[in-house]
Symmetry: C2
Subunit: 227 residues, 2 copies
Amino acid sequence: MINKQRAVVLLSGGLDSTTCLALARQQGYDCYGLSFDYGQRHRSELTAAERIAQEAQLCDYKVVKLDLGGIGGSALTDLSLDVPRQESAGIPITYVPARNTVFLAYALAWAEALQAQAIFIGVNAMDYSGYPDCRPAFIDAFQTLANLATKAGVEGHTLRIEAPLIALSKAEIIRAGLAAGVDYGATVSCYQADSEGRACGVCDSCRLRRKGFLEAGVADPTRYRQL
Amino acid sequence: MINKQRAVVLLSGGLDSTTCLALARQQGYDCYGLSFDYGQRHRSELTAAERIAQEAQLCDYKVVKLDLGGIGGSALTDLSLDVPRQESAGIPITYVPARNTVFLAYALAWAEALQAQAIFIGVNAMDYSGYPDCRPAFIDAFQTLANLATKAGVEGHTLRIEAPLIALSKAEIIRAGLAAGVDYGATVSCYQADSEGRACGVCDSCRLRRKGFLEAGVADPTRYRQL
């Protein structure tokens, strides 16, 4: 196929971004996967991303090393902070400062170099756990920025920020993903998965995921190390 | 002094960002300097940034390594492309895809972790050489994004993106910097300075800088290797 539209797809190796990739492919995009090694303590998520990218036979795939850990302030990158077992009020300690802004900025740089038409990001406002950079208003603001920030914008070409999961529940995401052929057994969502990708079953991310499979009425293929 | 406001200041080692740092200090901010090692071919600019940061006795200073070079598409990071000697129409080949978006995203992450009130960036729309991410509309869009992207925004605290040079000519920047005590001999603007920081005198950046000193009516302290 010639002249297909190109999309940069942010891929964490978790349930949401893997679904997002499947939807981008379903829409006919030539997909360029982008993952980040930002010192996340859930390393096996990144291993999962690399495996998923390889199996999806993307046009290209990059793992970019980011020095976010040095900035501190999150239980996901600061090993001196514990990942909480209980849901807390407000913005959780697992929030990484400005993470999606940094991820999208990199995706924008690559999208511009590739002359891509879209960036896909698997953010989700329903089950968003209180992260500010998962809200629709944030995505809209980034799209405005993207078209001011780049050559493409100056030259009248428009780049779309696609967040197809933003208004879906976890159960709806799972149903959409299964319809698009996602193997959720290959994805890792747990904030503290072990080196073999087995989930703890108790962190915020695990609880949202389990609830999703329950509500979708499908078997949960997640490998748990405790239940 | 206690409870001073904090600012993250982007520092490239060039004339504009060094002036910007001096203005932030003049305004009484506690300054946190941030530079990027993004594979730029003008390495001596980064060396200059490190020296300027050290002399300014900042509260903290970080050099973040970015993997922008792998994305390609610019004569500043792609060694197979030549830096042009002549001004060209449109957006120049020295433009780095989405560079200021990536820089500001990192600054935002650090500003959030520091609970800073401002980010200073030395962009300049007058002498901007056609870079889309130096326009006032881009800065405004990033400020909107910043306050949607962060905890601060959710909690009602506002982060300002300060671009004090945006409407100044190069001559006006130089006069403001001299009044704030900047030593321009320590700054490096050239796209292809040699390892000792001596400028070529012929690239776009050198030409804008030379013209600035001429128009400001002050001696040009730049060390040139050819004239």
